[in-house]
């Protein structure tokens, strides 16, 4: 019986495996192959070399990579700090009000990211919604916060908010209340309960939320383009340019490979540290 179940399981997983192989693994292989070809070639029939990777250092592409990683890291930390209390409330305190918050956050996803970011531009630009009204009432204007690093980070935090909030709420809901109460009963202050009980037990949610936010933010492009006005160029922007205007597929592939490898290492490390079954639902026993 069990054997049959396993056979059926493998069989039903086959279609999705095929699709994943064709649509996900195959393009990655193509990118991997192109990344080791000489610069600016469009076929694979060339002697492989590492010139595209060398450009990463020679032409300062590493700076774009560092900017993307740095801003992703900062936005992930900020997201964690602002989402924790809200996620905590959603998981443990708000009860039915949680649904209202969930709907409110999900509805924001119904509008395209670019449109929402342009909305912020209109709100924050000089002569926009805020500064324009302020100047009309007081007669004095002020500089727009747009086209700067902090506003890009704000954009990342704003756009990837749900990707941190929901996994975190899920993780926090897995903390047994009695464990928290027992810790307090054994003398732990709120701070110690947070450190000794809440954070370790919510770890799967923290890891999933942080990975999602970080990976998405590290590959994000619209925030730095629209809100940042290309004041800083992030790696995703460079990749796009290399493949399009630059007509340099090997360079684009090499930059992509570096990003993919960094993110894969982070993701595998993060996931290996926590019990994902706990958050994705228990395996049948």
């Amino acid at each position: 019986m069990e054997k049959l179940d396993r056979k059926l399981g493998t069989l039903s997983a086959l279609p999705i495996l095929t699709i994943l192989l064709i649509s996900f693994i195959a393009p990655m292989l193509v990118v991997a192959v192109f990344s080791v070809l000489p610069r600016k070639v469009f076929t694979v029939f060339h002697m492989p070399d590492l010139s595209a990777y060398a450009a990463l250092l020679e032409h300062g592409y590493y700076r774009s990579l560092l900017w993307a990683m740095g801003m992703a890291l900062v936005s992930t930390i900020i997201l964690f700090l602002i989402c924790w209390p809200l996620a905590y409330g959603m998981a443990k305190v708000f009860k039915r009000f949680t649904l209202v918050i969930t709907i409110a956050v999900v509805v924001s996803l119904f509008v395209s990211e670019n449109i929402r970011l342009f909305g912020w531009v209109l709100t924050l630009m000089k002569g926009g919604l805020i500064e324009g009204h302020w100047r009309a009432w007081t007669g004095e204007g002020f500089d727009s916060p747009l086209y700067n690093v902090p506003i890009i980070i704000f954009g990342l935090v704003y756009v990837y908010f749900p990707f941190m909030l929901f996994p975190l709420a899920q993780g926090i809901s897995m903390i047994p209340d009695d464990a928290r109460q027992a810790a307090a009963d054994l003398g732990a202050s709120r701070w110690r309960v947070l450190r000794e009980i809440d954070l370790p037990l919510a770890a799967p949610g923290i890891v999933v939320g942080s990975l999602l936010s970080f990976v998405l933010a590290a590959g994000a492009l619209a925030e730095s383009k629209i809100l940042g006005g290309q004041n800083v160029i992030v790696i995703a922007d460079e990749i796009e340019t290399a493949f399009t205007y630059g007509q340099d597929w090997p360079l684009g592939s090499a930059l992509s490979m570096v990003l993919i490898v960094i993110i894969a290492v982070l993701a595998i490390y993060g996931i290996s540290r926590v019990d994902l079954d706990a958050i994705m639902g228990k395996k049948g026993s």
Partner: protein, 360 residues
């Protein structure tokens, strides 16, 4: 010093919106005592214990620990601790880390913590190798001992228990009941235990407080509560019982409600007489009722028909139907079992010493 109670509860009240869960509890708990609070589910006993450990705030009343008021002190600042019904072991910690937790919070060094943990493992008869074992790998009984060890590591003034044995199977529960009693004697700590199981309460406690609808109905030693309950509720709660509504008559005899009860002894002497017109409930436990053969005599006599026989292991239980249709329960040791058949007309009797009058 020993005469002053360690914990004094004065008029404790806890209300949730319109619902009063705990309604005017007064109790003095003596140092070193094993007190059990017994009540059916919904009687407010769990709410009461949460108030005592500081997980909920009292609506009214005072709690004094060695004369100091603590009712507004949060749980983490109270020198008491509780073993949870769920045990509430920390799933991400090993057995050793669980037990060390209160010591770590207190800021004790790792050598000292480890030494104390080893002592506690020994005290609770867990192998030292369990120090680094995952709590999920422990059996129900072992988890129980880990929870106890963790509570003892905290070194509380009073140790509270919220039905910690209720999830275990019968045999393990029996073993742990005895171990807990023994642990109480060895540590000399004050134990306050909550359960809905009367048997558990009787095996372990010095004193039992029976709780119903947010109030204590009776507080006494186990024997007293069993033999001399103050109300029908307590009598029925404390296991199988035969109760008869009776009324005092002018002749000084008792008039049974429907059932004919013949009393041959002196009711006055045993405090079971009623004045004329006074209502009472006459109580006798099934194990004191016996089948009497012709020629034999007894203080109380009731006639009926044997309807059923159940084997309870070491004892036999019988159901006898009286003329008015009410049922009597009789329990005998297996070797004293009734030698007859279902449907027999039988005469039941018991002595006046085993009888108790409940005046409500």
């Amino acid at each position: 010093m020993s005469s002053e109670p360690i914990l004094q509860l004065e008029n404790i009240v806890k209300r949730f919106d319109n619902f009063t869960a705990v309604n005017g509890i007064n109790l003095d708990i003596q140092e070193g005592e094993f007190l059990t609070i017994v009540g059916p589910s919904g009687s407010g006993k769990s709410t009461l214990i949460r108030l005592l450990v500081g997980m909920d705030e009292v609506t009214e009343g005072t709690i004094k620990l060695r004369g100091q008021r603590i009712e507004h002190t949060p749980a983490n600042k109270r020198p008491t601790c509780m073993v949870f019904q769920s045990l509430a072991l920390f799933p991400h910690m090993t057995v050793g880390q669980n037990i060390e937790f209160p010591l770590k919070i207190r800021g004790e060094g790792s050598d000292k913590r480890r030494a104390r943990t080893m002592e506690l493992l020994k005290l609770l008869r867990l192998p030292e190798s369990y120090y680094s074992r995952n709590v999920a790998q422990c059996s129900g009984g072992e988890r129980q001992r880990v929870a106890l060890a963790r509570a003892l590591a905290f070194d509380p003034e009073i140790l509270f228990f919220d039905e910690p044995l209720s999830a275990l199977d019968y045999r393990l529960r029996k073993t742990l009941e005895k171990e807990l009693k023994e642990l109480h004697e060895r540590t000399g700590k004050t134990f306050v235990y909550i359960t809905h199981s009367l048997e558990e309460a009787m095996v372990m406690s010095d004193r039992i407080a029976i709780m119903n609808a947010g109030q204590f109905v009776q507080i006494a030693v186990a024997d007293d509560i069993y033999a001399r309950p103050v109300s029908r509720f307590v009598a029925e709660f404390m296991g199988e019982v035969n109760l008869f509504d009776v009324e005092g008559t002018t002749s000084g005899e008792l008039h049974g409600n429907g059932v004919e009860i013949h009393i041959n002894g002196q009711a006055d002497e045993f405090g079971i007489s009623l004045s004329t017109g006074e209502m009472g409930v006459l109580m006798v436990r099934p194990e004191f009722v016996r089948f009497i053969s012709s020629g034999e005599t007894s203080d109380f006599v009731v006639r009926g028909i044997l309807r059923a026989e159940y084997a309870l292991g070491s004892r036999m239980q019988y159901e006898v139907e009286t003329a008015d249709g009410s049922k009597l329960t009789v329990e005998n040791l297996r070797e004293d079992r009734y030698r007859g058949d279902i449907g027999d007309s039988v005469v039941l009797g018991w002595d006046i010493e085993s009888t108790h009058m409940i005046r409500e």
